[in-house]
Amino acid sequence: MLEFKMPSLGAEMTSGTLTEWKIKPGDRVKRGDIVAVVDTDKAAIEMEIWMDGVVEKLLVEPGKKVEVGTTLALLQGEGAQAAAVSPPAARETGERLRISPLARKRAQELGVNPATLRGTGPEGTITESDVERAAGEAKPDAGEAPSIRRAIAAAMSRSKREIPHYYLAFTIPMAGTLDWLERENARRPITSRLLLAALLVKAVAKACQEHPEFNGFWKNDRFEPSSSVHAGMAISLRKQGLIAPAILNAEKQSLDQLMESLKDLTARARAGSLRSSEMMEGTITITNLGDLGVDQVFGVIYPPQVALVGFGRVSVEKNLVATLSGDHRATDGARGALFLAKIGKLLASPEVLL
């Protein structure tokens, strides 16, 4: 019998609320299938299963909050017969509710059923205001920080406690790259134009292949490199904090694919519809605060990762400062300098990023 357990969907996660099962006993599942929705402090996450098998029993009822590591369901391994498991009454199916994590939490607090609400957020997402409007009450002054703030606090505090950070900055001349991007976008319809952000991700992903010591995890007193680059993207949820889901296998994606991945990931992060693999498998984080006008970013590494690459704004002289926050347990400044130089070299020759 295989046990499907509540995973840790982020460094700070200690528990999660199972909000919905998408499987029932008797169902055959394969690795990567979305089997449940879990509400964490940061977001509602579509949870993928990492084993093949047949669902034997669901052990946790929707609505229940459980610790990380709790067995959620039992499965029979490959080869078991679906018919051997007696199926229960058919579960209700329906369109996935789009609701922000804060709104979901607020709905629980106020006793509002989100399914009865009409969302006014992006793509009909139910927002905190929608819930409060429905409850007919104004938001009281919060005595305690919102859960997402506390989750960020936990992860970043752990990072600063455990990881000896070092910081490097590297100025990249971008005039040629920006000209290239302008020419490229001039021949594209608006719906398939590229943002500089896609080039940044591609450059980091390619540089990671040459410098694998920045792509992976520090676990059990040693560095474990990752064979794929899962680029965690720091995405602002506006007034609701920050989340860093990953673009999986970024090194294998073309610029156009990365652009689509960025659009999709940003939209789903803000709509509260991320997948567990995107939350669990990030191997390096990229944060781009150039749009908000900062010159340089010195970020805090997301444990157990060992590096974070930051980008500031493009200056009037068309320079861009790339920064590295490195984990000194895994790498040294000299390697970091080479890594940043590689990112700079790639960004200076955008045709090689295609």
Binding site: T120, S129, I190, L195, A197, T266, D291
Partner: protein
């Protein structure tokens, strides 16, 4: 299309981009970036939705003309105006 109709449609699009900002708090003459905390992805989504809503082509070189609500309304009005004979 009347100016007020264009403005109402643009405000509706902005609501989808930054739902937390009340439409009546958006100043017509101030840059969106200063008021709405929007990044380049939000801005691209905004431009794409204007393109789809009004059926107009927006070259990247024109993005700077969409930086405030009043500039945006003028831009769309001009683009939607019938061609002179």
């Amino acid at each position: 299309m009347k100016k007020e109709e264009i403005k109402a449609s643009i405000l509706k699009i902005l609501k989808t981009i930054a739902p937390e900002v009340p439409s009546d708090s958006i100043r017509a003459d101030a840059p969106f970036r200063d008021q709405l905390e929007i990044d380049s992805m939000d801005f691209l989504n905004f431009a794409v939705r204007i393109h789809k809503e009004f059926g107009i082509e927006i070259p990247e070189s024109d993005y700077r003309l969409l930086n405030t609500l009043e500039h945006c309304v003028s831009y769309v009005e001009q683009k939607c105006a019938p061609e002179p004979r």
